[in-house]
């Protein structure tokens, strides 16, 4: 996303000579038109980001001035069992990235090939991205309760033995959240892949088919290479989602429980900052995760683009 492959900005041909020094009088307007956007971004995104970098190296309770403590926050982070457990859960969610890549790719391929009902599939698959995550989370929590609809359905169809307290047990709470997370995101990725597929020259897969390639071979050797850009985006955003967009799911579905078993890093940041007044420590967590995500994103793009060249 930050990697831009844009062509150079088009240079306007020299202005008509009828006006006096048109370039200089225009340049002023360039700054005037760009300034409001730069200002809003600087105040509400760039300043907070700079603030995180500075305060990650301080002890700060939010009331008194922060004091510089060097790398102490990060040393503490490495031994903080709550943080490590939370990070482990984020990694668990990140392990779904291959599914988040391949499932939408396959679905988009079938829709792109005009499988029967493709319009209906294309329309409905985006719905999970339309619902608010809060609504999905609350619905999931209701549905998975001990006396909730899922267990009712199970016992109605004679599978009562399978019913359980889905969210009350650590061994089923994590997979439940994971399933909802993957489900909530797949349709968005299908739309991304469809956009990529429609930009591929339709003669390429046609030619491959005439040469006797199977559908899977067409997908593998014609579409996948043409979708590298989209795959990059899906890979990187899915990873970012698993580390930095889990709060709403966890907060609404299990509130981190049972115990700390579904705790995630954002939750830990939230608690440290707003319950324990350890703002400096929370900033250190935020910085550590930002660095981790950037590193992973860099590796993923390297793996995709470097693998074949």
């Amino acid at each position: 996303m930050a990697t831009m492959t844009d062509q150079a900005l088009p240079v306007r041909p020299a202005a008509a000579p009828t006006r006096r020094n048109p370039l200089r009088s225009e340049a002023k307007w360039g700054y005037i038109y760009a300034l409001p956007a730069v200002l809003v971004l600087a105040v509400f995104v760039i300043y907070p980001f700079a603030s995180i970098i500075v305060h990650a190296f301080t002890r700060w309770d939010g009331f008194t001035d922060p004091t510089f403590i060097g790398l102490r926050n990060f040393q503490f982070l490495l031994q903080d069992q709550t943080f490590i457990a939370a990070l482990r859960n984020n990694i668990y969610f990140a392990l779904s990235v291959p599914i988040q890549l391949t499932l939408p790719l396959g679905l988009a391929f079938l829709i792109h090939q005009r499988i029967r009902g493709w319009r209906f599939f294309r329309w409905t698959y985006f719905l999970p991205a339309i619902y608010s995550t809060v609504v999905l989370g609350v619905l999931a929590r209701l549905a998975l309760q001990v006396d909730g609809p899922l267990n009712q359905v199970l016992s109605t169809i004679g599978l009562g033995g399978l019913s359980r307290d889905w969210l009350g047990d650590a061994s089923t709470a994590m997979p439940s959240i994971l399933a909802i997370f993957v489900w909530a995101n797949f349709g968005y990725n299908v739309v991304l892949f469809l956009a990529g597929m429609s930009s591929i020259d339709p003669q390429l897969p046609e030619a491959a088919r005439i040469d006797g390639a199977s559908q899977l071979q067409v997908l593998r050797h014609v579409f996948v290479p043409g979708l590298r850009r989209v795959m990059e985006i899906v890979l990187v955003t899915s990873t970012i989602n698993a580390f930095a967009y889990m709060f709403t799911y966890v907060f609404t579905i299990t509130n981190g429980g049972p115990g700390f078993s579904t705790f995630v890093v954002e939750f830990d940041i939230y608690n440290n900052a707003f319950a324990f007044q350890k703002l400096g420590y929370a900033c250190a967590m935020g910085l550590a995760i930002t660095v981790l995500i950037s590193g992973l994103g860099f590796l993923q793009i390297r793996a995709l683009t470097g693998g074949r060249e």
């Binding site: 009828t18 370039l23 809003v40 509400f44 760039i46 980001f49 499988i115 609504v135 609350v138 954002e266």
Partner: protein, 278 residues
């Protein structure tokens, strides 16, 4: 040709069945809320699944009035309209500066804004909260309006710039020769031409702002400014034994964006595709 995507027929039907199951699951939340929200509490207690035997709007009344969903709804509308308008306006003016005006540093400024597209905002929640407190914006619409605008700005600006760059140079040159000022060209030529791009961004941003939860939770504590997503989460505690009212509240939260999707699907898909194909 097109009908035989997958050659062996049995496999084809398995795939179609699987895809249909996914499609049903995608519609299910909506159907579930619908079948529960129009019931009475007694009907819900009797059976939680299946078709309702009663039709009543009481649950909506309870949610709208007792749980202040009405207030939250108005707040969500205010915040969404405010944030979308501000962000798209900023993106349009910046996009104009980056595409049609020559000035020193514009390439740098362009990429500088763009670089913030992938920053995960939740990791910034501590400094954002502190900053909003210092500015006295906590518990005001402005806190989230300004923040959402800023977070959406890099993508919006990217799309507007790309769109403006596609406007034929000759058109701008002709207007200049005729003596049109920078401002007049923006208002009379660029803005009218960019209505499709603006519509795309409005829909795309509205979806994000309407559904955003964490910063609304963090920055809007007072009931008078709270938005729907935070309000709905509170409903769980308030209506723990009144599921029809709870689901009515969630339905009220979901329906506006579902309607937007039904009507403006084209624009949403265009925004996402533009992000994918840049």
């Amino acid at each position: 040709m097109r009908n035989s995507v997958v050659r062996p027929a049995p496999l084809r039907w398995v795939l179609i069945a699987g895809m249909s199951a996914l499609a049903v699951s995608a519609v299910f939340p909506l159907l579930f809320m619908l079948q529960a929200a129009f019931r009475t509490q007694a009907d819900w207690a009797a059976s939680k699944i299946g078709l309702p035997t009663t039709f009543s709007l009481d649950a909506f009344a309870r949610a709208w009035v007792q749980a202040s969903i009405g207030t939250y709804f108005v707040n969500s509308v205010i915040v969404t309209v405010g944030a979308v308008t501000l962000s798209v306006a900023l993106a349009a003016t910046a996009g104009y500066a980056f595409s049609a005006i020559q000035w020193r540093g514009r390439t740098f400024a362009y990429f500088f804004i763009l670089a913030w597209m992938a920053i995960p905002p939740l990791l910034l929640m501590v400094p954002i909260y502190v900053e909003m407190t210092d500015l006295g914006l906590v518990d005001t619409y402005w806190s989230v309006i300004l923040l959402y605008s800023a977070l959406n700005l890099p993508f919006n600006m990217y799309l507007m710039t790309a769109f403006f760059r596609a406007v034929p140079r000759e058109l701008l040159e002709a207007a200049r020769v005729d003596g049109a000022s920078v401002n007049l060209i923006f208002i009379r030529i660029m803005l009218p031409l960019s209505i499709p791009a603006i519509a795309t961004l409005v829909i795309f941003n509205a979806l994000y702002v309407w559904n955003e939860f964490v910063f609304a939770l963090l920055l809007l504590h007072d009931d008078s400014v709270r938005t729907l997503t935070v309000g709905v989460n509170q409903l769980v505690g308030k209506f723990f034994f009144d599921y029809p009212a709870l689901l009515a509240g969630m339905l009220i939260t979901s329906v506006p964006m579902v309607v937007v999707y039904v009507v403006f699907q084209r624009y949403l898909v265009r925004a996402i595709s533009a992000g994918a194909l840049k």
